[in-house]
């Protein structure tokens, strides 16, 4: 699904964040990316989203060279992703409205795109029907992230990229949305890459966890976590040991 080949990226005059970095993500896998502040995890996500271009090397999605945002990739950011002047319903329909705006041109919307404005099933699925007419500042943080999820799923992505999506939420809402994310990924057969700074979140969501360290990142450091997301995983001993393994790996790298 995703392949980075010899990926090199740096902001001008600084140590490159990625240097000849090669990494693969298979279709349907769920990955968590974790690391300290400044390790480049958000940069990696932006590279995968096509919002930044590598200095050298390539990002391939589905075998295609990524040169700009790809219509079948969904991106969810921590905050500020919703339009304050649009209602929850309008925000959820935003991706569809953008596609209707351009039509199926293959660049901004898939070539096989059929114009539709049908977002209500998603609002219902995410429990947002009652607040569909409200504005983002009138609803809770959890509902805002649900709106962002509805907006992304409405464009029928096959790849979901998330940048610390739940870090400003309270613990219970966070766990609730983590479970929902896994459920939706399984249901829609999505490939997931989620960036987080929380070890518990990485251990809960990523069947594979990519650990980044301070730049430059050359070799991907990966911890396998095959049981992630299984029922009751948060309470299991395996989960605890994965958390421990992640912690010690982060300390050494």
């Amino acid at each position: 699904m995703i392949a980075t080949q010899g990926l090199t990226f740096g902001y001008s005059n600084a140590v490159p964040i990625f240097q000849d970095f090669s990494w693969q993500v298979g279709r349907g896998e769920t990955w968590a990316v974790i690391g300290p502040s400044g390790c480049g995890k958000t940069t990696l996500l932006y590279l995968l989203a096509g919002l930044r271009q590598p200095t050298s090397g390539q990002v391939l999605i589905d075998g295609q060279l990524l040169e700009r945002p790809r219509p079948h990739t969904g991106l969810i950011l921590q905050d500020y992703g919703l339009l304050p002047w649009a209602t929850v319903g309008e925000n959820a329909a935003l991706g569809l409205r953008v596609r209707n705006f351009y039509g199926p041109d293959g660049t901004h919307a898939p070539r096989d795109y059929r114009p539709s404005g049908e977002v209500n099933p998603w609002l219902e699925r995410l429990g947002l029907t009652a607040v569909a007419e409200q504005y983002p500042q009138q609803i809770s943080g959890g509902q805002r992230q649900r709106t962002a999820i509805a907006r992304t799923l409405a464009i029928q992505p096959d790849l979901l990229l998330m940048d610390e999506p739940f870090s400003s939420l309270d613990a219970l809402t966070r766990e609730d949305l983590q479970d929902l994310t896994l459920e939706l990924c399984a249901e829609q057969k999505l490939t997931l890459v989620i960036v987080t700074h929380a070890i518990e979140e990485a251990a809960m969501l990523g069947k594979k966890v990519l650990i980044l360290s301070l730049p430059p990142n050359r070799q991907p450091v990966i911890i396998e976590n095959p049981l992630a997301g299984s029922p009751g995983y948060r309470q299991s001993a395996v989960y605890q040991s994965v958390c421990q393994a992640l912690r010690s790996q982060m300390e050494t790298s």
Binding site: Y46, A49, G50, L51, P69, P71, T73, G74, L75, L77, Q78, D79, Y80, G81, L82, L83, P84, W85, A86, L94, G95, R97, V98, R99, F101, Y102, T107, H108, A109, Q134, Y135, Q137, Q138, A148, R151, I155, L161
Partner: protein
């Protein structure tokens, strides 16, 4: 603002006016009742035409400045490079009191409505450019990234982000500058015209010494300012409902 509070305040001001007029007891300050009577009489004797002349000039300049300043502010604000290029120019021109250009504008544009409209336009233009530019420049990058990831290119960003984001800035700029616009209109209408409330007030007061009629003109000009202010307020509530959602 509650309607009741506005009405009560107006009533209070009228009472204050009445009391001052009774205390001063001189022709230069007639009571509100006298002015009201003359106001109604004058409506039939040309005051309406003067009012309409002024209204046209100020509304035309408002529309012209929105039409030119809003796109300019948007284009400058969304591009850091253009912003660096134009900001020094705006920074220097913005604080210059445009009203001192009256004689120059009159010399160049002559008599008629155009110089008056241009003068008010100059003032409104900079107010709107500055507010819209800042609004466009301060849109969180996360919002732009989210939209781009949904497939939005430059055109869709203008349609779905920059344009709606700048609407409140345009309306705020208009509301803040309505008072100035009407004040400048008064100045502009003192010169080279025989139409408009500025001319009317000056002519009745200084030439004919007809104080009640002069006050009728002042009332008309105040109503013009209030009416414009309330209209912009109303527009904002219609066009920007999210600002008023609790």
């Amino acid at each position: 603002m509650k309607k009741r509070d506005v009405l009560l305040t107006t009533l209070g001001l009228l009472i204050l006016w009445q009391l001052s007029a009774m205390l001063l007891n001189r022709p230069i300050l007639p009571t509100p009742l006298v002015v009201a009577k003359v106001f109604v009489q004058e409506l039939g004797h040309g005051l309406v035409l003067h009012f309409l002349a002024s209204l046209w000039r100020v509304v035309a300049s408002m529309l012209l400045s929105v039409a030119l300043a809003a796109p300019a502010g948007l284009v400058i604000g969304q591009s850091p490079r253009l912003n660096r290029l134009f900001s020094p120019l705006i920074y220097v021109l913005y604080p210059i009191p445009k009203v001192v250009f009256v004689p120059i504008i009159l010399l160049i544009l002559g008599i008629g409505d155009l110089p008056k409209i241009v003068l008010i336009f100059l003032i409104l233009f900079f107010q709107i450019v500055v507010l819209v530019r800042d609004q466009a420049a301060n849109i969180p990058p996360q919002l732009i990234h989210s939209l781009r990831s949904l497939g939005a290119g430059r055109r869709a960003l203008f349609r779905f982000v920059y344009f709606p984001a700048s609407l409140p800035a345009i309306l705020t700029a208009l509301r803040q500058s309505v008072g100035t616009a009407v004040a400048v209109l008064y100045i502009a209408e003192l010169f080279a015209t025989q139409r408009g409330l500025g001319y009317y007030i000056y002519y009745k007061g200084s030439t004919l010494l007809d104080y009640p009629a002069m006050y009728a003109g002042v009332v008309a000009m105040s109503l013009l300012g209030l009416g414009l202010y309330f209209s912009v307020d109303w527009l904002e509530r219609r066009l920007c409902p999210w600002l008023h959602a609790s």
